[in-house]
């Protein structure tokens, strides 16, 4: 009888353990099962003399509209035989009306200016451009109104300010705005490895290191 009792108790335990292991396996298997990489293919599409339609696409660097469509930054480049390019930046309404020149600069043809896709601050009060000189990017921030930041600064040279803040890393590019007055920019180390990302606060000129990279 004791042997039978012991056998029955042992069976109970074994069955219980098996049941628990099975349940756990089911749960874990359901949760952690990963489908194989799935490639979704619809019916092959054959384009046959496509009719041009209105397509919304990324705008070129010649002009860039704000996120809400109410402002536009326009860059006109004038080239001459002297080996220089003259850049004129102007701000207008989204429709192109009320255009007002805010900045002009003449550069050697080895340099150029571009308007990033995310040039406008979310509240349309500021914008930034990038001046390219070889591998060096110079980020310049402006007030959309064209007003200077102070009696000495028509614009803020983010790159220069960062070089004074940190002489080990190089400002690589500004990607956009984290908020209404924070420009996000990335850096590279002297070994040309991706460095930390920062915020540049307009108009206080504060430089804030970030714990994440963009």
């Amino acid at each position: 009888m004791n042997t039978i009792q012991y056998s029955l108790n042992l069976k109970t335990i074994i069955l219980s353990v098996m049941g628990i292991v099975t349940s756990l396996s089911l749960v874990i298997g359901m949760k952690y099962y990963q489908s194989q990489a799935r490639v979704v293919l619809a019916t092959p599409i054959i384009l046959d003399n496509p009719t041009p339609t209105k397509i919304l696409e990324l705008e070129t660097s010649l002009s860039q509209i704000s996120s809400d469509g109410t402002k536009k930054l326009i860059m006109k480049t004038t080239s001459n035989e002297g080996g220089v390019n003259k850049y004129a930046l102007s701000v207008s309404d989204g429709s192109g009306a009320n255009e007002q020149i805010v900045f002009e600069k003449t550069l050697d043809i080895k340099k150029n200016i571009t308007i990033p896709f995310n040039t406008w601050s979310p509240d349309n009060k500021y914008f930034f451009i990038q001046e390219h000189e070889g591998e060096k990017n110079i980020v310049l921030a402006f007030k959309a109104s064209g007003e200077p930041f102070n009696t000495e600064e028509k614009y803020l040279n983010v790159t220069d300010l960062f070089e004074k803040y940190d002489n080990k890393n190089n400002l690589n590019e500004a990607t956009g705005w984290a908020s209404q007055n924070l420009i996000i920019f990335n850096t590279t180390t002297q070994d040309n490895i991706k460095g930390p990302s920062y915020w540049f606060e307009v108009p206080s000129k504060a430089i804030i290191p970030l714990s994440i990279q963009f």
């Binding site: 209105k54 956009g176 908020s179």
Partner: protein, 230 residues
């Protein structure tokens, strides 16, 4: 030595106990083990999925105050919908390429929109094939904690495709082309407005516009999904 009492016939309890134990473990394990977060906005995930407009509210994002856009529904009827106006009828499909942070919208075989977006950085955007389950002109999205806390009223032109993950306009940042969200797909305001007027919510027996979130995408229809959730 006294013998222990005999067990009941059928050893009923000796079968039931293991079964009950297995069931308990299964139920508890199913609830506790969660691989994928089903919410984008932790505070408003289940409560704020309907129309909400608050033109007097101030938002918070990354520790900074943000002024949301004013929303007046009456003004929406004045603006004509132009996206896809000249495209032939066809199935609508939105693709999002997470690798390049680009959104493509197709109607039939016509690409009618291509623009950069911002997908999840502080919360991963779910990969898979979904249908827009509702569209909301404006709502509030809140979540995070500490320095990451955010509260954003009047988020415009929201197209929910999976729980509270949606495609919508973003007025608090302008860093499109880079991951910036807690799982949703952020768009420029003008892009979200156009897409919202074109995309379809479910109606009658028809599902809403298909939304494919792809790890990689090659136009016009090659969508690579590694580990999709559906």
């Amino acid at each position: 030595m006294r013998n222990k009492p005999k067990l009941k016939k059928g050893n009923f309890w000796f079968i039931l106990i293991p079964l009950l134990a297995s069931l308990v473990v299964f139920v508890i394990g199913n609830r506790l083990i969660k691989l994928h977060t089903s919410c984008a906005n932790s505070l408003t995930c289940k409560t704020d999925l309907t129309l909400k407009i608050d033109n007097n509210a101030i938002g918070i994002f990354e520790g900074h105050k943000v002024i949301p856009p004013k929303i007046y529904l009456a003004h929406d009827n004045i603006k004509p919908s132009i996206l896809g106006a000249n495209a032939p009828s066809g199935k609508k499909h939105i693709y999002i390429n997470l690798a390049t942070q680009t959104l493509y919208a197709y109607q039939g075989n016509k690409q009618i929109m291509k623009t950069v977006i911002s997908s999840g950085k502080w919360g991963r955007t779910p990969v898979g094939n979904f249908n827009i389950w509702t569209k909301v002109r404006s709502t509030r999205m809140a979540g995070g904690s500490g320095d990451d806390a955010y509260d954003l009223p009047n988020v415009p032109h929201v197209m929910y495709f999976y729980n509270d993950f949606g495609v919508h306009g973003a007025y608090w940042h302008n860093n499109f082309g880079h991951e910036m969200s807690h799982g949703c797909i952020n768009m420029r305001l003008i892009d979200a407005e156009d897409l919202y007027s074109w995309a379809e919510a479910p109606k009658a027996n028809q599902k809403g516009t298909l939304v494919s979130i792809c790890d990689e995408f090659t136009a016009p229809n090659l969508c690579i999904q590694k580990g999709p959730i559906n």
